[in-house]
Amino acid sequence: MLDAIWLVPALPLVGFLVLVFLGKRIGEPLSGWLATAMVFGSFVVSVLMGLSLLDAPDHTFELSLFSWIPAGDFQVDIGFLLDPLSMTMILFVTGIASLIHLYSIGYMHGDDRFPTFFTYLNLFVFSMLMLILGNNLLVTFLGWEGVGACSYFLISFWFTKDANASAGKKAFVANRVGDWGFMIAMFATFLAFGSLNYTTVLPEAPGLAIGVATFIAVMLFVGAVGKSAQIPLFIWLPDAMAGPTPVSALIHAATMVTAGVYLMTRVNPLIAASYEWVTWLIAGIGALTLLVAATIGLAQTDIKKVLAYSTVSQLGYMFLAVGSGGYAAAVFHMVTHAFFKALLFLGAGSVIHGMHDEQDMRRMGALRKLMPITFGTYVIGWLAISGLPPFSGFWSKDEILTYALNKSPVLYAVGLLGALLTAVYMGRQVFLVFYGEPRWNDPIPEDAPATAHTDDADDAPVDEAAHAADAHDEHAEVHPHESSWLMTLPLIILAIGAALIGFINIPFGDLDFLTRWLEDVDDLHANEAHLPYSSATILLLIIVSTVVASLGLALAWLTWIKGVLPRSLWERRFFLKAWYYDELVTRFMGGPGRALFEAIAWFDRTVIDGVVNGVGAGAQLAGRGLRRVQNGYVRSYALLITIGAILVIAFMFTRLLVR
């Protein structure tokens, strides 16, 4: 039964192949339905696999399909490893991907390249599943780069607008920086183990020299930082919002960006075999990212940018968990986040759709009555991400905070502050979009410093504007409306998930199903930090978290509904401009970085090629000079012969003398 695991990635691959060749002929909406059916089929097979896996020994199953790259000692197969970790991931990936496919049929309606969109989407799901299911680092890397390529295609899907094209390229290149680290890690792994297979490498990790293990773990972390948009490589993710909103939901929130967390969880024995500072590095980067991104989220005006920075921040929580030894907590948050963030993005997409491609929250407001389903589901997502019980985000975030406290009180404090800010910026978003007065036709306020609209290419809302740039001005009067069932049905299902999925892992008694399910993965259980807290302490921590989240929501209410607190308290220009980090990087790349490249190109033209042409010119010059010798006068030839003869004789004399 488990042998059929190959079907899971194969179905979306078939969908991709069919759409590549016949997509145009199949057309809208059938191509969308086909793609959705393939991914849903994959979900069904995943569920069946999950049921079979329960009976498998150690809940682990490995299958090798064929030999991919066999060269000498280097033997890598296309093979799958199904264990509780990959099982959990494929379930939520295929499940959420099915819903987002369905939603996209409605969202992409009327687009010229409707079939192409689904072609890429199916390829993405295939790559993501390869990433998760690979039984060795290289197959994971195949998926890893594959999802990166799909992300590139889909971010620049509306490529006629330069900003979208730029964003796609930026994402790919930033990801490649991380991929470089991943590759180096694989080389070092092969050198040390002679294999890249998880089942060969990971059990032997404890015997590895600590320096080598550290190097491999850090290099893999570099890869994870790139893919999961952590500091310092997070800059590509906000720009990635240029893609259609379902793409943001699927790739840049629910699935692809969590790949880094998956990777770190998968190789936990390597992290355990490393110096301890590696865990501090991971937790530190996570904590820093979650805090910085949360502050940026406070001031964004674009509805999707808020969610993008929120995603960066939530991924920070997951790395905080990994670094604190809470692998199961990281996976738990990955799952809950996939639900509530996909829900929020799709809800935002529904709003954007209803507002005729408006993305600026300053031109929204009072939408709750006009878009009741969107509003209702959005509120669930909002409460879940803000960490209010009993919604899903609460349980997973709280678990992470518990591990962080165990690691260090500082990390706990940062996590708690982040939780407060999360509640504030999400509260701000909900209040700006769904409450207050309608501002649908207001001009964008130009001068208010905290909310000033920027003209920078990088910062401007690059998104769907191109999609309907012309429609924008013609429809001076905006009439918001609720979206079709294709879009609201996925919202409802996701909302149910976002509300309830937290119950798979309650930290009391035997209710921590997910943690126990994941115990069979590698040495996950052995390498987890063991919490010294009693149930009473945990209950206390839960109360603290709840108070903090409620406080955040209250602060947002006081600021954006009651107006008691000034908005400028939160909406700072420094935050709006994302701490000027992106600008700094862009300036560096455009300035000194580019100058260096130019200098090297100049060196090639002038010095290297200059020498070549110089030699050529020199030879010509010498030829011109020597030509004079050939003057046709016998007397000058005789002279030259004499000189030559004298030189030869002189040479022979020197030889004799030396001897």
């Binding site: 195949l142 620049s156 183990f193 190109a601």
Partner: protein, 567 residues
């Protein structure tokens, strides 16, 4: 010379004893384009179409023969197959010996594939008869150079490739074609002169008996290899002579500046065959005539070559990023890609060498495909300048899609062919020089940068008026791309059939080097030294034939056995 070929054809090779060599398939393959040249010369000048047809038939016929060779090639046999032999200049023991092994097989087949395609892909703007004659002659030279097993014969084919390409660039090229052609010619000639001196010196020194007469002299590669008469010092000098010729041809930094000019000015077919086939003469030469003939010197010079190759990877990529002309960009990307081939070769590991040969083949396919696509572009827009192109994806989606696949292969996306070679090269290099692999890995980032940036500027964005009138790929053009795209995908997913044919010959070379240089062994994975010994896995120093392949699963070990028994 031709008499010697005919002789082998008629006398049908008595050498080697391989079953398949009863029919002299290699000489026939080389002879077909030569006959084609004569046939083209017989065509009246004004019948360009007929010249094209004859060229197509001749190159295709030779191409089919190369695939016959591929089909009959005995996988797992490390030695030379299909060997044909005939005496050419008896006094000097110069022979017409040709044979193919895993190292040359796919370069030979690639030649057979790319030449018919390059005949189809573009037409000359004037004087078609001469154009097709030179192009067809070039094929004969390329086929010969990969299978020659006699030093003198190799040199002769090496030189034969030079003149047709010089003529193609100089006569049918773009703007500064004469400058480019001359530069190409002088560069390569300079290298060849040193190589000729080296070959003659080697033949003298390697022969048995008195070195001051020509008695016993031989240019037979196998005899020269078997000789141990050459002193270490002399071997290093002779190696250096070969090395410079190959460095120019590859090209290795800093001998690369002829390449961008040659590519930019060459007609499409010239660029395709130059990038696809001729550059490999350099790296192939290093493998066959550098490493095989001079193991000790190769090991001595390896660090230098690895560093130069790495510079080529990073430097070539950076300079490529700054180019304003698409052909120059691809030319510099070739410097970077061939840098991988050089690094992998001189890492002197099984993975690195196998990766290097794969990289040669893959680069030939992807860069050949890129130049063909640029040829299609030129036909439509009459420019390669990035500034003058914008928004082509909207107008020509199929063209853009095909370009994207080839581009991603060139960037080294896993699942497409470019990745496999590059990755093996880097894995193999890491075993020997970890720091080099880490730096060379930056090439992977830079490759994404320059290609995606160029793609963005030319294909993305709103099309301008000039672009709007541009037609998408025609049916015939799509057909030309089908085999190339097919190979790009196939070799990315299932490179095993290629690797398992290359690798035995690579291992044979490594064993040869290990036997020749006492105390040196090819770097391998540390497994077993760092950890408690686990099973009998890994390369076990000397010997290492069976155990080399004994891998961790039954699947693999059974393969290892079947390789030994020659299937």
């Amino acid at each position: 010379m031709i008499a010697a070929v005919l002789h082998t054809v008629l006398a049908s090779g008595d050498a080697a004893g391989h079953a398949a060599s009863s029919f002299p398939i290699l000489p026939v393959t080389i002879l077909l384009p030569v006959l084609g040249v004569f046939a083209i010369l017989a065509v009246p000048s004004e019948r360009g179409d007929l010249a094209r047809l004859v060229a197509l038939i001749a190159t295709s016929a030779a191409g089919v023969m190369t695939f016959v060779v591929l089909a009959q090639f005995a996988t797992g046999d490390a030695g030379f197959q299909f060997v044909s032999e005939a005496t050419w200049i008896a006094a000097l023991d110069i022979k017409f010996i040709v044979g193919v092994d895993g190292i040359s097989l796919f370069l030979f087949v690639l030649t057979g594939l790319l030449f018919p395609i390059s005949v189809l892909a573009a037409k000359p703007d004037h004087d078609p008869k001469g154009y097709y004659a030179w192009l067809t002659l070039l094929m004969a030279g390329c086929l010969g150079v990969f299978v020659a097993l006699d030093l003198f014969l190799f040199f002769m084919f090496f030189e034969i490739t030079l003149i047709p390409l010089y003529m193609l660039i100089g006569k049918w090229g773009h703007g500064r074609r004469v400058y480019a052609a001359t530069k190409f010619f002088i560069f390569t000639m300079g290298g060849s002169a040193l190589m000729l001196v080296s070959i003659i010196a080697l033949a003298y020194l390697a022969k048995a008996g008195d070195a001051s007469t020509i008695a016993n002299i031989s240019f037979d590669l196998q005899k020269v290899v078997a000789s141990d008469a050459v002193s270490q010092g002399a071997a290093r000098w002779i190696f250096a002579g070969f090395a410079i010729a190959f460095m120019v041809k590859t090209p290795v930094f800093p001998f690369h500046t002829w390449l961008p000019d040659a590519h930019t000015e060459a007609p499409t077919a010239g660029s395709v065959d130059l990038a696809g086939i001729l550059l490999k003469l350099g790296t192939y030469g290093f493998l066959r005539y550098g490493l095989y003939l001079f193991p000790e010197a190769s090991i001595t010079f390896a660090p230098v070559m690895v560093v130069l190759g790495t510079i080529g990877i990073v430097y070539g990529g950076i300079v490529a990023a700054m180019q304003r002309n698409l052909k120059r960009l691809v030319a510099y990307s070739s410097v970077a890609h061939m840098g991988f081939a050089v690094v992998g070769l001189f890492a002197l590991t099984s993975e690195g060498l196998t990766g290097s040969v794969l990289q040669m083949v893959n680069h030939g396919i992807t860069t050949g495909a890129l130049f063909i696509l640029l040829g299609f572009l030129y036909k439509r827009r009459h420019t390669y300048e990035i500034d003058q192109l914008k928004g082509m994806q909207k107008v020509a989606p199929v063209f853009a899609g095909v370009f994207t696949v080839v581009m991603l292969a060139s960037i080294g996306l896993p699942g497409l062919n470019g990745f496999v070679g590059e990755f093996l090269v880097l894995v193999g290099t890491y075993l020997a020089y970890p720091a080099v692999a880490i730096v060379a890995g930056f090439g992977v980032i830079i490759a994404a940068l320059y290609l995606l940036w160029a793609y963005q500027r030319t294909f993305h964005g709103e099309p301008d008026d000039a672009t709007k009138a541009m037609p998408d790929l025609r049916g015939s053009e799509k057909l030309i791309m089908v085999p190339l795209i097919g190979l790009i995908v196939f070799l990315g997913i299932y490179p095993k059939p290629v690797i398992e044919r290359i690798e035995p010959s690579i291992d044979r070379v490594i064993e040869h080097v290990e036997a020749e240089v006492p105390g040196w062994s090819s770097p391998t994975s540390e497994r077993g030294s760092q950890l408690a010994p686990v099973e009998g896995h890994g390369h076990d120093g000397e010997g290492g034939e069976g155990a080399t392949h004994a891998a961790d699963t039954e699947d693999h070990s059974s393969e290892g056995e079947s390789q030994e028994t020659g299937e």
